[in-house]
């Protein structure tokens, strides 16, 4: 047990001695240097352990033999120890990172570094205001000096601006300290109370607080900080952004008790504003380090806000929120700054060098996900609890601003991420040199991030191990990534089935039903991925992560568990989409919309009342009366995932650009997660119908989605895009029939969900097979493939009949149920629109089968073969499924009927194979037999009585007595429904796309115009600071 004062004195002493030690060689001085830093960490670590786990009381060290207030006292409590441990660890690792630099530079660098650490440590521990000033000046001066380690014009000028701004701030600080002394006669924080101040005295507190606050870089008085982040060496900047910020943040925390509430509110709001605007401006940023700078500033703003708004909460919760943000932000930020130093690329577009560097990419990914606040990292939990807290406190404006800011942050961070994975190929690929000294600290920090998330999940929330399974899956598959992909695929298949078996005894049939869609559907689709050659690194991990999160949605008990699985699902599907060749834009769109949806859901869940029973969410939600706002927000969140009209624009991109064997998962299964969620909202809704009928409007949205999706699908040239829009349209049907909120409606929604899972999987896999052979998705480039790929053709044929709803296949059942339910409910016009949509669906269905399989075979496809067996197997499994439920509809109708009966009175009668509703009846079995009969009889007739039949080839056509020029010009495929487009006229314009495009343009140009504030001129920055002080002064109304 070492006296904590030694961490100050040791460093200080070493600092002075180093000049001497260096005479006997740099090696020795480096040893001493790192020794001291390690020792610091060790001492603090020990203290932290004692204070936290052994409940040792807070240590107070009085210097100069007197007790406070006569002398300066240092305090080391748990909080101090936490911050110090963290700061010293970062300092140590930063020093390791700077190893090369320290080896070459003048010894003063080492000394300054040590002095800076002294400043930080002192700043954290001291309780005396003036002492704080001294330590902060030590810290500042050493930092200024450290900046000169790299003597470039940029770093020097940034340093100069930093100094001026810092000088102004410290002047305010000094004035504040002086006046506080004047008014209270005391400088020790422990002895200053709010009550001591008169009205005039508040100015002194204000000066003090604003000085500290300016050091925390509030918007817009933070131009200097941005310049420093951009210009200074990565190693140093990570210290500035992390260690310094942490210390100053802690100072703010220390002086908070003496600040009056109205100050705090103003600072809290200012923090939120900083968070919002810096993230907004980050949108426009192209320089990696400056981008991190914006993010950094924003996060500090959020930290301050969270600190202020959570003060009244129980300690543990507050520690989770503030600590979560603190930890998450600073660790991730340090790591990312280090990575910028390793990559050494300024422009984000040049970051695609990372593509070839897996270890660095993994680190980068972990830190970025942590920074953006995705689970399982600390920021996620903090954000969840923070939003919940704010919502409970009815601070909706703050919630909105923070979430919007977070969304901006996600956008620019992941634009960076996706650019580094999928950036332009044009830039040259230089391999990045991975120096051990630089990689080591980064790796450690990434490790710590993961460790902390594990700790939170285990100790704070105590989740079922199932909920860690998605992450575990990624880790395990990464461990065995050296295996060929076939083996991994089979293992994954086994894992999925095992998982299904594990969660099998489900509490209710509705879970079981969605379980079949999620788990069995995925399992069959995995067969399609077995066609992969090579290793396909990382693929199966993400796939398993996604499938497990689907499953976890079913068994989630609390809102948080549900939301956690939801976010896992989003992450994994995002990364899966990103694996596509040109998926940068598509995956970004997907992520933006998903994140926005997730945030809405977060607020929605926060608004929701507590659960009363301890069963799975889908069941217990029926006892919960969701408020209208929660219902709306949750519905929008789920509808974003299911691609409803208005928020559908991510859907075609994501489906089209994902790898072709991933698309079936996204379309057939991922969209069903949205359906599942919406059904969940509906379950609560039917039991507690509020006055305002939200689901009526959801019904309309669903109906319009169906029609618009169908039209858009008809106008596509890209096969996968067509199928994507088709999915949108079909899910529109599902959403609309959920919104009916009747027995028949839900029956049809679930029936169609199941059907859609099967036919859309099969269609996407069939297209995957075609793509695999022809290497094109553009439909008019294909044609005539029926001769080459008959098995795929048959599967597509059966599936499009199933989609279109033509009897005798199961699609008709869905249509019958839907129309019956709509008429029964009295939604006549909606039913009319759906009729229209189902008519339009013929357009795209014919288009996809004709332009790919019929018509003229191209020269380049004369030698293509049937799709690989791995694509054929799942298709035919789905065909068997479709045929089975078409032939024997009771197989599916009866169980679904029982599920829907849980919530509504049954409105259908099942008698043998005849299913009757109040409106009509339908006997799928008989229809099948009759259809077979009427089909077989003419067939036999034709076979018997047809004359001599000659099979001819593709060019043996009547071509107005000419001969066809080439297959390309003879194949009618391009812009097939041009006349329809013409007929639609102005209705055919992509308005929604335009709208979102405008939103994007608008926010970017707003960001651009706001960031003009930062002119780069030091004097402007001073002016900003002074103006900021004045404005805050007036707002806080001292």
């Amino acid at each position: 047990m070492v006296n904590p004062i030694y961490i100050l004195t040791l460093s200080l002493a070493a600092g002075f001695l180093l000049t001497l030690i260096d005479k006997s060689g740099r090696k020795l001085s480096l040893t001493v240097f790192y020794g001291i830093l390690s020792l610091n960490v060790f001492i603090i670590g020990e203290w932290f352990y004692r204070l936290t786990f052994l409940n040792t009381p807070t240590v107070i060290i009085n210097t100069a033999g007197f007790s406070a207030p006569l002398s300066i006292n240092l305090q080391l409590g748990m909080q101090e120890a936490f911050v110090l441990l963290f700061a010293n660890l970062t300092a140590l690792l930063s020093a390791v990172y700077l190893f090369k630099k320290f080896k070459e530079t003048h010894i003063s660098g080492l000394i300054l570094y040590l002095i800076m650490i002294v400043g930080v440590n002192g700043l954290v521990m001291t309780r005396d205001l003036f002492n704080m000033f001294v330590f902060s000046e030590i810290l500042s001066i050493s930092t200024y000096a450290l900046i000169t380690l790299t003597e470039t014009k940029k770093s020097l000028s940034a340093g100069f601006k930093y100094m001026i701004a810092g000088g102004i701030a410290s002047t305010f600080f000094l004035l504040g300290v002086t006046f506080i002394y004047y008014f209270t006669g005391n400088l020790n924080l422990d002895f200053i109370h709010l009550g001591n101040f008169s009205n005039l005295g508040f100015i002194s507190i204000f000066l003090l607080a604003i000085a500290v606050f300016i050091e925390l870089k509030p918007f817009p008085a933070n131009g200097w900080a941005l310049d420093v982040y951009e210009a200074v060496d990565s190693g140093i900047v990570s210290v500035i952004a992390v260690v310094n910020s942490a210390a100053i943040f802690f100072v703010f925390y220390k002086i908070m008790p003496i600040l009056p509430q109205n100050f705090l509110n103003v600072f809290g709001i200012a923090g939120v504003i900083t968070f919002f605007f810096s993230n907004l401006m980050g949108l426009k940023q192209k320089n990696a380090k400056r981008l991190l700078g914006y993010s950094s500033i924003g996060q500090i703003g959020l930290l301050v806000a969270s600190l202020i708004f959570t003060m009244h909460l129980p300690r543990s919760l507050m520690y989770l929120i503030v600590g979560g943000f603190f930890f998450n932000h600073l660790i991730a930020k340090a790591g990312l700054f280090w990575i910028t130093g390793i990559v050494k690329k300024e422009n984000l577009k040049d970051w695609n060098v990372l593509k070839n560097n897996k270890p660095l990419l993994v680190l980068f990914g972990i830190l970025l996900f942590a920074l953006a606040g995705f689970p399982p990292f600390a920021g996620f939990w903090a954000k969840w609890e923070f939003v919940k807290m704010l919502v409970h406190g009815k601070m909706f404006f703050v919630v909105g601003t923070i979430l919007l800011g977070s969304l901006f942050e996600v956008i620019f961070l992941f634009r960076w991420f996706t650019l580094s994975i999928k950036g332009d190929e044009k830039t040259e690929h230089k391999n990045i040199s991975l120096e051990l000294s630089k990689m080591f600290p980064t790796t450690i920090f990434a490790g710590i991030t993961i460790l902390i998330s594990v700790l939170i999940m285990k100790f704070f929330y105590d989740f079922n191990w199932l909920h860690a399974l998605p992450v575990l899956a990624v880790l395990i598959i990464n461990v065995i990534d050296f295996l060929p992909s076939k083996i991994k695929g089979i293992l994954s298949l086994a894992a999925v089935l095992t998982y299904g078996y594990l969660i099998y005894p489900l509490e209710s049939n509705i879970q079981l039903f969605f379980g079949i869609i999620f788990i069995i559907g995925s399992a069959i689709n995995i067969i399609g991925t077995l066609n992969r050659k090579g290793k396909s690194e990382g693929f199966y991990g993400l796939l398993l992560m996604m499938i497990f999160s689907f499953g976890n949605l079913l068994v989630a008990i609390t809102y948080l568990e549900f939301f956690l699985s939801w976010e896992f699902m989003t992450i994994s599907s995002f990364l899966l989409i990103l694996r596509g060749k040109k998926a940068q834009k598509a995956s970004m769109l997907y992520l933006i919309f998903s994140t926005a949806g997730a945030y809405l859901m977060m607020v929605g869940f926060s608004l929701a009342p507590d659960l009363v029973s301890n069963s799975v969410l889908i069941l217990s939600i029926s006892n919960v009366s969701l408020p209208i706002a929660a219902t709306i927000l949750l519905s929008i969140g789920f509808m974003i995932k299911s691609g409803s009209l208005g928020v559908h624009i991510w859907l075609p991109e994501a489906h089209a650009e994902a790898e072709s064997d991933v698309s079936p998962f996204i379309s057939a299964i991922l969209l069903k997660a949205g359906v599942f969620g919406l059904l969940m909202v509906g379950i609560s809704y039917i039991k507690h119908t509020p006055s305002f009928d939200i689901f009526y409007w959801i019904g309309w949205i669903g109906v319009l989605t169906a029609i618009v999706g169908a039209f858009l699908a008809s106008f596509q040239e890209d096969a996968k895009r067509l199928l994507a829009y088709s999915s949108m349209s079909q899910v529109g049907y599902i959403v609309a029939s959920i919104a009916i909120l009747s027995h028949l409606g839900w029956l049809s929604a679930m029936y169609l969900s199941f059907n859609h899972m099967m036919f859309k999987s099969a269609l996407f896999i069939a297209i995957a097979g075609v793509y695999y052979r022809t290497h094109t998705r553009t439909m008019y480039e294909m044609g005539g493939l029926i001769k080459k790929m008959p098995l795929s053709f048959i599967s597509v044929l059966i599936m499009i009949i199933a989609v279109s709803g033509v009897p005798p296949l199961s699609g008709f059942g869905a249509k019958w149920l839907i129309y019956s339910s709509f008429i029964e409910k009295g939604w006549y016009l909606q039913a009319g629109v759906l009729f229209f949509a189902s008519g339009v669906s013929f357009l795209y269905l014919y288009r996809i089968i004709h332009t790919i399989f019929l018509g003229q075979l191209k020269y380049e496809h004369q030698n293509v073969k049937e799709a690989p067996i791995w694509f054929i197997i799942p298709q035919y499994i789905f065909i068997i499924g479709i045929m089975a439920i078409s032939m024997f509809p009771n197989l599916i109708i009866q169980p679904l009927n029982s599920i829907a009966m849980r919530y509504f009175n049954s409105s259908i009668i099942i008698d043998g194979y005849t299913i009757s509703s109040s409106l009509g009846y339908w006997n799928g079995n008989l229809v099948m037999y009759v259809t077979m009969g009427v089909f077989v009889v003419p067939l036999i007739f034709l076979m018997l009585f047809n004359g001599r039949m000659q099979k001819v080839k593709q060019f043996n056509i009547v071509y107005a007595a000419e001969r066809p020029e080439s297959p390309q010009t003879t194949h009618v495929a391009h812009n097939m429904y041009a006349h329809y487009r013409k007929a639609l006229g102005g209705w055919g314009k992509p308005r929604i796309w335009d709208f979102w495009h405008e939103v994007s343009e608008w926010s970017h140009s707003l960001a651009d115009s706001i960031r003009q504030l930062y002119t780069g001129n030091g004097q402007t920055y001073i002016l900003h600071i002074i103006m900021y002080v004045i404005v805050i002064y007036f707002i806080s109304g001292v």
Binding site: F130, F133, V134, E137, S140, I141, Y144, A145, T148, E151, K153, K154, L156, S157, A158, G159, F160, M163, I164, G167, I168, S170, T171, L174, L175, V177, T178, F179, Y181, Y182, L187, G223, L226, D227, E230, A231, K284, Q285, R1011, Q1012, Y1014, T1015, G1016, N1017, G1018, Q1019, I1022, L1023, I1026
Partner: protein
């Protein structure tokens, strides 16, 4: 005391004005220095009580009544530290200016704004 307080604030504002209006880096540093000085004057003036002596325990000050006879010693102590720190900062600023001038042969702050937005 009031006079010196006002003087301090006046210097502070003059310094700030100089920092905001002068383009020359050196002049900006001078402005900063003036601000610093202003601050110091303010500090000292707060602790000053008219008619009292310096807080040095020597023969003129009675040890028992020292608290009544001398001005508050803490501001003076503070100001000493602050002066030292201010000096260090000013020196460092000037060294930055020198380095900037060596590198770019310019002392105008307008020439150092390529870092922006």
């Amino acid at each position: 005391m009031i006079f010196s307080l006002i003087l301090g604030f006046l210097l502070l504002i003059i310094g700030l004005y100089g920092m905001l209006t002068q383009k020359n880096l050196i002049k900006i540093v001078i402005g900063f220095s003036i601000v610093d000085t202003g601050t110091h004057i303010i500090i000292v003036s707060i602790g000053y009580l008219s008619g009292k002596t310096a807080p040095i325990l020597d023969s003129t000050v009675d040890l028992a009544n020292a608290a009544k006879q001398v001005v508050d010693p803490i501001p003076s102590a503070l100001v000493l530290t602050a002066i030292v720190i201010g000096l260090a900062v000013t020196a460092l600023m000037l060294s930055f200016v020198i380095k900037l001038y060596q590198k770019n042969k310019s002392l105008s702050i307008d020439d150092y704004q390529e870092l922006k937005w």
